[in-house]
Amino acid sequence: MEAFYEWFRQLYESTGWNLVFMYDEYERDRLLAAVWVTIKLSLNCLIFSLIVGVVGAWAQGAKSAIVRNGVYWYIQAFRNTPPLVQILFFYFVIGNLLPTYDAGGYREQYIGAFGWAVVSLSFFAGAFNVEIFRSGIEAVPTATVEAAEALGYSRLKAYIYIVMPLAFRVSLPALNNNLVNLVKTTTLAYVIAVPEMMYTANQMWSDNVNVPEMMIVLFIYYVGLVAILVYFMHRWERSMKIPGYGG
């Protein structure tokens, strides 16, 4: 294994291509940790934004005007502001308003940078998901919904058993799009010092002055991560195909 790593040091010395995370153990550990943090961050954001989307789409059809208006203003707030501004706002402004505990010379927050990144990005992508699910829900024929009502389904039960399964199939392509965007938007967490790929690559190229190499690694990593996500989403889409309803 050592010989394999040493080859990269030779590569640096002979050609100037500095893949420092191969031959330096400290950098290697840093990069591997970052790979996992990015995957964790992406998974957390994907799951929570889907939950927000499903709940929000149901709340959009609620009887209470307060709930309906609440969802409307939530979408306006999180869709119309840049995600970077949202992350900074959550971390520096809202984070300050919450209680803290003493951790020996400094006050530790209960929700750290990673937590705030997940919260902020989930709300951001969730706002888009609500609208995406709404487009699917509106594709379900009203006659079907009325039939469900006639059969005695409550609004919630009809949503879970009838409307959502039909709506989901229609909204999958747009949802795919949004989830891919979400995975790429997780790079914004670097401004609040979440040790994910973008942040770690930035640190590494500042320490080792190998900007082009790190940029290529970053590029390959995100292309690979998004490719995996798209592959699974496509399999899901194909499994939900109904002949006569779209390609």
């Binding site: 400290y26 520096f92 010379g105 530790e108 927050q109 010092a193």
Partner: protein
């Protein structure tokens, strides 16, 4: 129609070849471009008080901005200032976005391979931390396992983290890092001792102190493009720096901006004082 297209492409190619031949100026391309344009673009810091920062009207001011103005006056060109960060200042010089930079950069061997740092150096600083008095930190080893705020791109982040086991939490700019320190997200802020001293002197940081012994005293270097370091541009900047030391201009600027007088500058002034024939 095809004949016309061929003719245009051929003329263009010919024109380009002549153009390229005319542009080569014996390795002094960047400086020649500056003189032709009548404008020099210098990268400076916008968040490092008082070397480069924004005053209340948003204008870039500071000791390094005054030095940049001296350079532009000596060349007889207009000055354009571009704010840079530790993580992109060298890349901007490489790409040609700025012609040179005076941006509180520490002179390191691997940086000399990327940009043309000229000798002599113009300032110096070491690494220290700004820590809350309540934390009671006395020595570097006390930082083990504790979160320490830093700035992305600083060369000592890795050293502090490896040598003393501190958990570096690096932000994009000094403002975010200092805000995180104030919010209590970390126990100390690691940065240059010169900047920390300026902050402590400003009065906003009365509950904080600089408790450690300054480490890694490293002189600062201003930089021109690496290909022109040993040509006219680099030699000119070396001359400027020599003049700044020998005439006492840097000591005068240090006083103007309220920086604590350093032994480094008075030393350099003594060494380079000009012989004044009677």
């Amino acid at each position: 129609m095809f004949k016309k297209l061929l003719a245009t492409v051929a003329t263009l190619a010919l024109a380009l070849t002549f153009g390229i031949q005319a542009a080569s100026a014996g390795g002094n391309d960047r400086l020649m471009k500056v003189l032709e344009r009548g404008k020099i673009v210098i990268g400076v810091k916008a968040d490092y008080k008082p070397w480069g920062f924004r005053d209340s009207s948003g204008k870039l001011v500071g000791m390094e901005i005054d030095m940049a103005r001296d350079v532009a006056d000596a060349l007889g060109v207009e000055l354009e200032l571009v704010p840079v960060q530790s993580s992109n200042r060298m890349q901007f010089v490489q790409q040609g976005k700025i012609d040179m930079m005076i941006a509180t950069m520490s002179d390191k061997a691997d940086r000399r391979k990327v940009v043309g740092i000229v000798d002599p150096n113009y300032y110096t600083s070491g690494t220290n931390v700004l820590a809350s008095k309540k934390a009671g930190l006395k020595k570097w080893e006390d930082l083990k396992g504790k979160p320490v705020c830093g700035k992305q791109g600083a060369f000592y982040n890795k050293g502090v983290s490896q040598k003393y086991g501190a958990k570096i939490v690096a932000f994009v700019g000094n403002a975010e890092a200092k805000q995180a320190l104030k919010d209590g997200r970390c126990v100390a802020w690691v940065y240059d001792d010169s900047s920390i001293m300026a902050d402590l002197a400003s009065g906003d940081w009365d509950d904080y102190e600089m408790p450690m012994v300054t480490e890694d005293d490293t002189p600062w270097g201003l930089a021109v493009p690496v290909e022109e370091r040993d040509k006219l541009f680099g030699r000119f900047m070396a001359g400027m720096t020599y003049e700044w030391h020998s005439s006492g201009r840097l000591i005068e600027l240090e006083k103007k901006w309220g920086i604590q007088p350093t032994a480094y500058l008075s030393d350099m002034h003594e060494r380079m004082k000009a012989y004044a024939p009677k």
